[in-house]
């Protein structure tokens, strides 16, 4: 999947390569109507509203995607939204798919998928630690990497750190 297919130009391709086509149809049927197919760059993704995430993950898990690579967040301050990306793969199949959802930036909160995959528990704790996004009914949501007395969420684009002398690169 990851060897760059030659005809894949960065611009949205007119025709999809066959295996992406098959993946899209299979999952579109499974995930239902509110999953919008989106292929920016090379990683195929489905955009979902925030509240449909947990059910989509459950259906994905039944559909054989039993391996959650990671959960991560991308900060778009200009559009005042966080984009949360769940990338799921298969332990015995070649497919991999990303589920993408947006949440507002002011008080970011989303349903936790740690019931579906246990590995999500620590990944979500890390996102809470570095982004400040709260995950509902998560087993124990606390800072995982930073000191408990740390103010602010470093990975946000607008993070300014006066306490720990962060040296900006001169060029």
């Amino acid at each position: 999947m990851s060897t760059p297919t030659p005809d894949q130009t960065p611009a949205p391709p007119p025709g999809l390569p066959p295996e992406l086509e098959a993946l899209r149809d299979k999952l579109a049927a499974v995930l239902g109507t509110d999953a919008v197919w989106e292929l920016k760059g090379k990683l195929p993704a489905f955009r979902l509203p925030a509240k449909a995430i947990v059910s989509a993950c459950k259906t994905l898990r039944q559909a054989g995607f039993d391996y959650l690579l990671f959960v991560t967040a991308v900060d778009y301050p200009s559009e005042n939204r966080f984009e949360i990306v769940y990338v799921a793969g298969q332990y015995n199949g070649p497919d991999q798919i990303a589920l993408v959802t947006d949440i507002p930036r002011d008080n970011p909160a989303v349903e936790s998928v740690s019931q579906v995959w246990d590995t999500a528990e620590w990944h979500e704790r890390e996102i809470f630690d570095l982004f400040g996004i709260r995950f509902e009914n998560h087993r124990d949501l606390r800072r995982i990497l930073l000191d408990d007395t740390w103010e602010g969420y470093p990975l946000r684009k607008d993070y300014v750190d006066k306490v720990h002398n962060v040296v900006k690169r001169p060029y």
Partner: protein, 377 residues
């Protein structure tokens, strides 16, 4: 004979349990990982790992460094599989830019990665012996590791944090007698694995301390996203080189080392077997490698990452490393997420260590082969 004490047994509540800190500085945590262990006498009731003591914020730095500059940080992530980390970053950038890597560079990448895998497993084997209490294997393993470092030094210039595999191919062509040295090392090291077997595996005390200890059931492993030798020891046949082939791995024939019991002994056996497989891969790659040819593709001076999401997956010595890159057309990446194998492997650890003893925490953790800066990033 090696069964864990059932935690709810009356023994547990007659003792009043107390907390112990296998603190940031502990000989057997190989780095700065703090395990808060809840003990009832010698029996472990629960373990809660505390990380972040060597969290350097590499993902934040990724947003301030161009694609070429970030390579040197990836080799400092999991410094025992430096080449594979660099390869993951190079692959994600090549995927974004749609760059075709020349043939010889692909082969050099495979050989370097497999050599790193051998040297990483050597170090793991030595430190595993030291964790069990025997000091001599540590020095045997490092004597052989020096030989691998000599090969790296001649070609990549450094012993540990190599910035050799860069986006577009490989930094420099291999050293003149690179092939001769590597073949000499393979001949030298092949019989030595048998010596490793005699020194530690044949020892009844080692078998007694690892057989049946800290069993990782496959279902639990899959749910916690465990990958690498730790997973393959539980019977799940998942190897990124086979499931998501990259580079020239499809042309090389090798088996993934598998075991079914899933206990510390199985993890130990799987890693020794992996060393043998790596030797096979290297010898095949050396034969098929084109003798000369370009080692680096032409790249524009400023690498602008086209907008979109890109993902590369590589099999490092400890599991699957995936790098997720979001570009927005500017030379600096917009977001870099590094999915480290040790982070997920460690998340499965507290679930399997209940009921065992303090000494088993050390054994089980050293068979998990954790590298702490890779967990904290």
């Amino acid at each position: 004979m090696n069964a864990p004490v059932p935690v709810e047994s009356p023994v547990a509540d007659t003792y009043q349990d107390y907390f112990i800190n296998m603190g940031p500085q502990h000989p057997s945590t190989h780095g700065v990982l703090r395990l808060v262990v809840k003990l009832a006498g010698e029996t472990v009731l629960g373990v809660s790992p505390h990380m972040g003591y060597v969290h350097r914020g590499i993902e934040k730095m990724g947003e301030a460094q161009t694609a070429m500059q970030f390579t040197h940080l990836t080799s400092r992530l999991d410094y025992l599989s430096a080449h594979m980390n660099n390869w993951a970053w190079a692959m994600v950038v090549e995927q974004a830019l749609g760059v075709q890597v020349p043939e010889r560079a692909e082969y050099l990448r495979v050989i370097m990665s497999e050599l790193t895998r051998i040297s990483s497993h050597q170090l793991w084997w030595g430190v595993f012996g030291m964790d069990l209490g025997a000091f001599t294997p540590f020095l045997y393993a490092f004597r052989d590791r020096e030989k691998v470092n000599d090969i790296f030094e001649k070609t990549c210039g450094t012993r540990l944090t190599m910035n050799y595999i860069v986006p577009g191919g490989v930094m420099e062509d291999a050293d003149a007698d690179f092939e001769k040295d590597t073949r000499a090392f393979l001949e030298y090291f092949k019989p030595l694995i048998e010596e490793y077997e005699q020194l530690l595996s044949g020892n009844i005390i080692v078998q007694e301390r690892t057989k049946g200890v800290a069993v990782l059931p496959p279902e639990l492993a899959k749910s916690y996203g465990v990958t690498g030798p730790t997973l393959r020891a539980s019977g799940v046949d998942y190897d990124v080189r086979k499931n998501h082939p990259y580079g020239v791995y499809p042309r090389l024939s090798f088996q993934t080392a598998l075991a079914t019991e899933g206990d510390s002994w199985a993890r130990y056996k799987v890693r020794l077997e992996e060393m043998r497989q790596s030797i096979k891969i290297i010898s095949q790659a050396l034969d098929q490698m084109p003798k000369s040819g370009p080692v680096r593709a032409k790249l524009p001076a400023v690498l602008r990452i086209p907008p979109g999401r890109y993902l590369s997956r590589v099999e490092t010595a400890r599991g699957e490393l995936a790098i997720f890159l979001v570009g927005d057309g500017k030379p600096l990446p917009y977001r870099v997420k590094i999915r480290s194998p040790n982070f997920s492997n460690l998340s499965a650890f507290p679930a399997i260590i209940k009921g065992w003893r303090v000494a088993d925490i050390v054994t089980a953790m050293s068979t998990f082969d954790l590298v702490i800066p890779d967990i904290d990033r």
